[in-house]
Assembly symmetry: D4
């Protein structure tokens, strides 16, 4: 039985860092600024670090006012505070298809960094101009884990997946229109990729992909020991 701290509107999972290696992360969507601030403050107190995803500008303003060391990145909507307990060896590569995928790619990159990963970014290498991607083939092959972020038809992870000997995580984005169905088409396309071993997260879920990648690097670190 793990310990939880009852904050009234929520039950804080304070044993989580011990259990999983990382403190609870605050999912900002659907929480009031009051709620987010209260949880944030308690996490900082207990763990010395905190991360908010999908933070609204209002929440960000409130938190950075109270915690001047907290950093808000508007495009990715992340609020980061504190340093990872340890840095993992190896690199998480974040590749993305187009300019509009940048916020999601940065959510992934920022989360991975906050969790202790070194991140390499290659953006705007969508498959309709395949040479942009091919120019970075070797650099991608050197990463330990690859996160491939793409909208529209979502083909980038398939091409990347066929190039590397490392786990690839696909992140669909909701940047298309019409038949894109707010990213549902991209999501389903990635799930039916012809590349082997690709795994997929929810639409725009850069956080989830980064968390999975960090779990992999944590395993490498702890399997080493």
């Amino acid at each position: 039985m793990h310990r939880f701290e009852d904050m009234g509107f929520c039950k804080l999972d304070i044993d989580r860092e011990e259990r999983t290696g990382h403190p609870e992360v605050i999912f900002g969507l659907g929480k009031t600024a009051d709620q987010t601030e209260a949880i944030f403050a308690r996490l900082v107190e207990v763990h010395g670090r905190a991360l908010v995803t999908r933070a609204s500008p209002e929440t960000a303003e409130r938190i950075t006012a109270r915690f001047p060391e907290a950093v808000y990145d508007a495009p990715s909507r992340l609020i980061r505070y504190g340093s990872p307990r340890r840095s993992f060896k190896g690199t998480v590569m974040v590749v993305s298809g187009g300019t509009s995928d940048l916020p999601v790619a940065e959510e992934a990159a920022g989360t991975a960094e906050w969790m202790g990963c070194r991140v390499d970014r290659i953006y705007d290498v969508g498959v309709a101009g395949i040479d942009r991607l091919l120019a970075h083939r070797e650099r991608i092959r050197e990463a330990h884990v690859v996160i491939a972020v793409a909208g529209m038809e979502g083909a980038l992870p398939s091409v990347v997946g066929g190039m590397v000997r490392r786990p690839v995580i696909a992140v669909p984005t909701s940047v298309g229109y019409g038949a894109n169905l707010q990213g549902v088409t991209t999501l389903l396309a990635m799930l039916t990729s012809c590349a082997s071993g690709l795994t997929v997260v929810n639409i725009d879920n850069g956080f989830g992909a980064a968390y999975h990648a960090a779990m992999i690097l944590q395993l490498v670190a702890e399997a080493d020991a």
Copy 2:
């Protein structure tokens, strides 16, 4: 006002060749062998040539028995009879993603040939092994029109579309499973391609893509005159 011939269960469009350059094609799905045979016989009589798509083996057997010159190709389910009135200059390139896309690719190729096009085929060059496609880049660039047939995530047309200065037609196939939704995912993904100017036809509709391609080559031929 164009002329139609009333065959009871259908009204045959006998002016069609004059109007569009090609006789009516018989869509075999949902027609009985009797109906298909009757229309086939009348088309041969009027135009000297005929094409059936989606022919069942029973229909094929019936027609090839009566018309020994008719050729049935089982994988593509085409029955072809007669030669095109003229051969178009230029090449239709049919590229396909995987082994399972072959029947649809052949429906496209066979239709285009029957309509008077020269066809070049490059099969099994799906994007998860991108070098297979890149190896044929120049050959693809030399075609006049490109038909790109793919199932699963349907990324092939996007990559091809970014390589060429020619019209590209995408054909989704229904070879996937699960999240592929019998090809609907592939179809929607192709419609939201990041490549410019790609057009798309219905799932497994190799015939439609070939017809569009032949219309393009016919235009080239007639604009020349």
Copy 3:
């Protein structure tokens, strides 16, 4: 290997005009005014012409202020700058079903003109008043390529497709309500058209249809040579 220019947030495809005949076009949706302006300026510098689709009024104001020769058309949301390198022989016909389809029809027409096509427009000829369309039958038959723009049940391309001996591209629009599902019904209906050889682009994608049409006229021009 083609050259790309790294602008930080994007990788500009400067070899594109040489490769495909036309410079990269800026898809305005999801780009900030800053990003669009920067790419626009660089494209003008390199190619002497540029096109933005789905431009917001803010972006349009910013660009026309800096580039007084740039022309913004509010209904179609196009910003056009410069003249096509060459004019193609032949005509692109743009027909549309109803008054509400006009913005998409104009996106198609404006794009085709910017790419060097002569455009003929016939608007508000939806099939529920079939004589409006029939009155222009001959004029439609004279075009080299037909773009048929329609919302609701999307029947216009089917009727047009049966009339002509030229390639027809169908563009569904999102003007309906209820069972129209924001144009998805129109899109799917066009894909299952009973007319032969119709190809289809994404909902409201007038640009894509025009691009495909221009590729066809470019082929005619280059096949002539």
Copy 4:
């Protein structure tokens, strides 16, 4: 309160003819041959006539063996027995798009006849060969009610709806493939028709359209009195 007769597995609505002008019709789908036969026999006894829709060949064989006057039409799957109590003045026009729509068109026509309507049929006049339809414009305009049966993109009712001053009922069929989604696309397209006042019934529901048409002719007959 109306009377119902309890047959154990069903409650027969024997007051229905008095209430609505017509006896209950047996929907054959999902009923065993035993159940259908029992209801059929009782309806014949009470009303002197009966109709089964969607009858399986087995059920048809059973019933025609016992009731030699009963007539089974295999394509439409109707079993008809007896004559309508009265014949309505006026004509129900059944038009259909293609050869494959014939079974549904015949379900409509046969039902309307059994209910006392005179039926005029014009088949295979789909919109992709618009002159076939236009050739019958005047004949269609003379009908009292029009039932338009079509599959694929379902455009026929829209074109017909714009021609006539009479009620039009659209019947989608499930003959397409791929993006047709077993007729759902056709259904939704008809519901978003740009023609005014079109009403629609379920996919393949020729019976329902005919019933509505007969209700209209019954109103004409009874309003006359």
Copy 5:
């Protein structure tokens, strides 16, 4: 061939009243106030009457300012002008399920009145309080045509359909939430009604139902002659 008047942005169907018995009706959605006003003025000039559906308050204000006799009904968003050429004998009954269905019910009622029908209204008689409906059973049975408007599970038309010997038209509304899918569930439920002969129009399409009803009463009137 019917005459159309080219107004630039639209082709006005001025023969329509002669052909169908009623002038063209303006569908306000997706038209600018300028466009609507121009068409309205021309229709008044030619026919002496006009109807706008889905009129925005801005458009309504513009038109009623210029045409003081025009009447705007805010809930139903109808602008009515002028009197029907003739009044049909018989009654259109409009029944509705709940308070929130009132705007759509009034669109139906107002349209039918403008077209020359006498309308009887029974509102808020949803099936979850079945006695409210049963209390009006005889009054409903006396109508010539019934329009049944309902949201949520859309059961009202099924119950009404089993009571009457007259044509029933079902109108689904978009008043539900969640599993209602903006009225799509209601629409599909009505299409699979167990009542015979029900026909259905698009979600919230009170106009379409009324137009069909008026066509029926027009038939009665003209069949009488």
Copy 6:
């Protein structure tokens, strides 16, 4: 911690009767006859009674051969063995819309009986002949819990729900066609019912409704004590 018995391919929940009042029930779908027989035998051994839902004829034959006291009901696909430990006071009313809903209604009725409930059945009282239902209004009002089984538009539970002061559970069936979408329309319609407090189970899940009803009667029994 509860005890589970490891049978290799499954972990039998032998504490379940103590915990919930009833032994585990075997869901037959997707289990081989071997697997079902093995679990059945063990349940009989431990609890002296067993129930299989969705049993195939093969499985039924196997089990009734070995356990002659086991009773197989082909329409509902239930295999029942043994008597309930106690009989609950009160009645579960099972009402159904049409003849085709009978198998699902019987799955509900048979399950409820096996669990110790007294069951009252009223079948074929669909809303399109409302008097059939009204005739049993008082009998329905006397039940303790009502299970309303219906296909098509699924309106029966809404009408019943407005009549009674007892919990009502709606069971959608998959008997429709076309727009019914294999019962999904029925399911969604029931979920958006205008009757208060209706709860819904999965399509064709008569078992689930009966289980919920039995839990209610068990509560009544145990709250009495």
Copy 7:
């Protein structure tokens, strides 16, 4: 026949309390403040108590100004007035998955209280931190009815359902994003739960679950008598 009071825009069901045990509840969505106030006032007059769900702040302000005893709870959007006629014995447990589910959970809890139930609340016990739920296992098992409110994958009711011998009602919420499809995924997942006897209500329908729960406790109370 039950009595209804005609208020013009609605027919008030004043016999409802006698028939079902509770007065009609006002569903605020889609009603104007005027309409809600008028019904509210009449209900207070007749029954001495009233409940509004989905009340907008405007409506709430209007009503609390006129009825100072009325209490508005902003998160759950309930307006409550008056006390239940009697209090039921037993407890309704409301458990919820996450902080964002609180408004729906409170709609359930507040409704149940207004109807006379004692409510126990356990919030933020989602399954991804299973020990939070397990810590309250005994307390949950002691309730008479359980309402399980959850968003995202909606797994909470399945876990709870396996723990208790009491009826469980699942309420999906619309708090997710992307593949959650505004709660439709949660709804469908709950309907296919592997726990026996779970019933489900519409997305965000806390009211419906509470009403069903109160019907159960009312049955217990009245079966006792």
Copy 8:
């Protein structure tokens, strides 16, 4: 540029083992027995080992006849031949929800073993009997990677994901019915899991999950070096 071997109907990726660590795997669905056998034979020749997924019994019989060392496992439809080049350190845990998920779980387990992983299996631990899962909590926590296979509401991966500090891959299965939509509901539910860092593969894609897991263990092995 990698080498591909042209086999006519396919282009074999013979460099794949060098590039990714593993030879190409044959996806049996949609390939003829001839095609599968030819590729299998060539893979055995080049790499000394081969794997077929989704093999039909016919294909299995053909291959095991020719290659007696090949092993066919009917439930998982895998044909395995040869030993992995090296064995990875660490364990892949495969947990599954119910008996019906076994074939997919075994596809995952068998693939992982063929690729060189040690596999631990815990089956039939679905969340509706949560103690079955909790009993194995420590054993699951000791694995290096977890594959969680589940059908129905797909909750298992969420519960597991909250317990471990290792990467978790979720595999939805298609074992449900009705609202399960052939596994699509399960898939979408897993994608919206409230557990952090879960990644998901296509419905029934045990192979894909195992491949991703093996890539992780391969990284651990190679990062060690």
